[in-house]
């Protein structure tokens, strides 16, 4: 018949059933959380770093490709320009031979030919050797020469070469003649000519070393020149670099008589300039630094946030545990079972408030005495937390002891006042004590600063006009005036703590008025009446703790 209402689930965010053991575990965890020294980087940081580095790699690749492509294009352009410069120089070779051939044909005199070309070969002349040959039935014979003797004669290959020389508008080239000083030979036989062939040889540099002057427009390149369309080592005319050329190079050819000259060019430096070449490395370095800096920042922020979240969780957990310790203490002190009193119906309620995480020091008690009498107590220790609950415990047991010793209500309060001192204990308490004589329908009430009880008989509720003495803890010489109340049959007395009636913006009298109205409702049992009162007066979760006791005479 006697029940206690437990806290509604939504009124408390913090688990009531937490144990001290779990509190210890939480503290241990707190310790392990805070020194967040060496930990694997967060996944987000790794993603940021990887993303940044990937982007850097793509940018670097793009810059490198662009630079490479520009370099290639510039190289091809310069090699083509070289070829075009060369090709403009070649026709003068042929025209000199054509002129010499015309003189020989017109004069039929090898001596006139010799004096005509005497300046063009040997010494300062353009050719190493210049000669006039006559074609006859037995082959082609050397008539005369200026400069050095033709290598073709020494070589003995003249017969096979001239056998292939035909009258033609193009110069006919021998190929590179092997000797101690390699030469290149070319023959000219005009179309329509039947007798004479003019033949010239140019010495190639002994080492085949080509020197590109630094003032030249092509000083950025190294070259290799080959006779013919293929780059045969035996047909290398000259080169400014070791052949064959490997790595980046460009190739172009120009026609030369009945063959061609092939030019291979390779850059000696970055044709696009140093900035373009360094761009790749600039991108790589800046990209890597930015990626790592971003990842570090992300890591730092994420870690700080993680720590803050853990701290907040721990603080909340510690609060919850602290609260649960106080609440456990309070629930241990509040009697689970109210003693049954013959002729009375008694019901109680305790509701923890939500204002703050600490419990208050509210309590109630019923102490059966002999001869159909009992004492009831309702009290409220100021403040909250474990200390308030401890003060409540001492007052609770002290009042029970004084009641059992037979002190009247005012005596119980006066004795209690000697046990508590606000200056020492930092708490005071308001306490209401009543001595009930069930059969006589009499209640003797004494009040130390507590709110007055409400008496309800014949569905009319009234405030018991009890004058309060000062609260317990203010002075050890408390004097209170008891009040004797005689109640009607089936009367109900309701005593409570301030959490039930106080509400922001209104006087306590208004709250007590609401309690009176709620107490007048028609209910079959006292349990239902208390439930109705709690529902009516606490619209939502109460700020403060509430203790409530109802006493109803069964006859």
């Amino acid at each position: 018949m006697m029940t206690r209402r437990t806290s509604p689930p939504q009124a408390r965010n913090y688990g009531v059933l937490r144990t001290v053991g779990r509190a210890t575990a939480a503290r241990a965890k707190t310790v392990s959380v805070l020194p967040a020294g060496r930990r694997a980087p967060r996944r987000l940081s790794v993603i940021v770093a990887a993303g940044g580095l990937a982007l850097t790699a793509v940018l670097a690749w793009t810059a490198s490709t662009a630079n490479h492509s520009s370099n290639n294009r510039l190289l091809r352009l310069q090699v083509r320009q070289t070829v075009s410069a060369l090709s403009s120089a070649l026709p003068s070779v042929q025209s000199q031979l054509v002129d010499a051939l015309k003189v020989a044909t017109a004069t039929n005199s090898s001596s006139i030919f010799k004096s005509f070309v005497s300046d063009e070969a040997g010494g300062k002349g353009e050719f190493t050797s210049l000669s006039l040959w006559q074609r006859g039935g037995t082959g082609t014979k050397l008539l005369t020469f200026v400069g050095a003797e033709p290598e073709l004669v020494l070589d003995g290959a003249a017969r096979s070469f001239f056998a292939h020389v035909r009258p033609s508008a193009t110069l006919q080239v021998t190929g590179i003649l092997k000797s101690s000083s390699p030469r290149l030979g070319y023959a000219e036989m005009e179309p329509g000519e039947t007798h004479y062939v003019v033949y010239a040889e140019s010495a190639l540099p002994a080492s085949r070393k080509l020197v590109v002057p630094s003032s030249s427009a092509f000083s950025d390149l190294n070259f290799a020149l080959y006779l013919g369309k293929r780059q045969l080592p035996s047909q290398l005319i000259e080169a400014s670099v070791t052949t064959p050329i490997r790595g980046l190079h460009a190739v172009a050819s120009l026609p030369f008589g009945n063959t061609a000259i092939t030019v291979v060019g390779t850059p000696t430096t970055q044709l696009t300039g140093t900035l373009s070449a360094s761009l790749v490395w600039i991108v790589v370095i800046i990209g890597a630094v930015l990626s790592l800096a971003s990842a570090t920042t992300v890591e730092y922020v994420a870690r700080r946030r993680w720590i803050a979240e853990r701290l907040a969780e721990d603080v909340a957990r510690l609060y919850a545990e602290q609260h649960s310790i106080a609440e456990t203490l309070q629930r241990a002190i509040l009697p689970e079972q109210i003693p049954a009193i013959a002729g009375m119906e008694i019901a109680v309620r305790y509701l923890p408030g939500v204002n703050g995480v600490d419990v208050g020091g509210d309590w109630y008690d019923v102490v059966p005495l002999e001869e159909g009498r009992f004492v009831f107590v309702v009290g409220d220790v100021s403040g909250r937390g474990v200390k308030a609950a401890a003060v409540m415990a001492s007052l609770h047991y002290a009042s029970r002891g004084f009641a059992l010793e037979g002190h009247p209500p005012e005596g119980i309060l006066e004795q209690l006042a000697k046990t508590l001192d606000i200056s020492r204990d930092e708490h005071f308490a308001t306490v209401l004590v009543g001595l009930v004589d069930v059969a006589r329908h009499q209640v003797t009430i004494a009040n130390a600063g507590h709110l007055p009880p409400v008496l309800c008989s014949a569905n009319k509720a009234a405030v018991v006009p009890i004058q309060p003495g000062s609260p317990i803890g203010i002075s050890n010489r408390l004097t209170v005036e008891p009040l004797l109340v005689t109640v009607e049959a089936h009367a109900t007395l309701i005593a409570y703590t301030d959490g039930l009636v106080e509400r922001r913006g209104e006087s306590l009298d208004e709250g007590i008025g609401r309690l009176q109205i709620a107490a007048e409702r028609n209910t079959s049992t006292l349990e239902e009446l208390l439930s109705g009162i709690v529902t009516d007066l606490t619209m939502d979760a109460p700020d403060d703790d509430i203790a409530l006791i109802g006493l109803r005479w069964l006859d």
């Binding site: 939500v354 703050g356 005071f428 308001t430 600063g449 301030d498 106080e502 913006g505 306590l508 700020d543």
Partner: protein, 108 residues
């Protein structure tokens, strides 16, 4: 935690002034468990000069619970005379119902 709800204006305003050597603590708004410690530290600072009287002006106090009573009793432990000046009805009834009319001098 209800008292920590982010409301635009503070639930309680505290003002300290002096009438001669007597500190006057003017409270307006709501004095409850969540705000009482702040007031206590402010009042503690005002008691440095060891005055023999302190005045609490509670005329603009819309709410006060037992934590407010505890504050006044705490002051009464330290200063011989604690006066309540122009208490609002809410405060007045709380003092009367708590039986502290004799301990705290109420000046209307």
């Amino acid at each position: 935690m209800a008292g920590l709800d982010a409301s635009a204006e503070p639930a309680l305003r505290v003002q300290i002034s002096r009438e001669g050597h007597v500190p006057v603590v003017t409270l307006s708004g709501e004095l409850d468990l969540t705000s009482v410690e702040e007031v206590r530290s402010i009042v503690a600072a005002a008691l440095d000069g060891e005055p023999d009287r302190i005045v609490f002006d509670t005329s603009a106090l819309r709410f006060m619970d037992s934590s407010g009573i505890a504050l006044l009793l705490w002051a009464a432990e330290r200063v011989p005379n604690v006066e309540l000046r122009d208490p609002s009805l809410i405060v007045q009834r709380l003092i009367e119902l708590t039986g502290l009319g004799a301990t705290l001098r109420v000046l209307k």
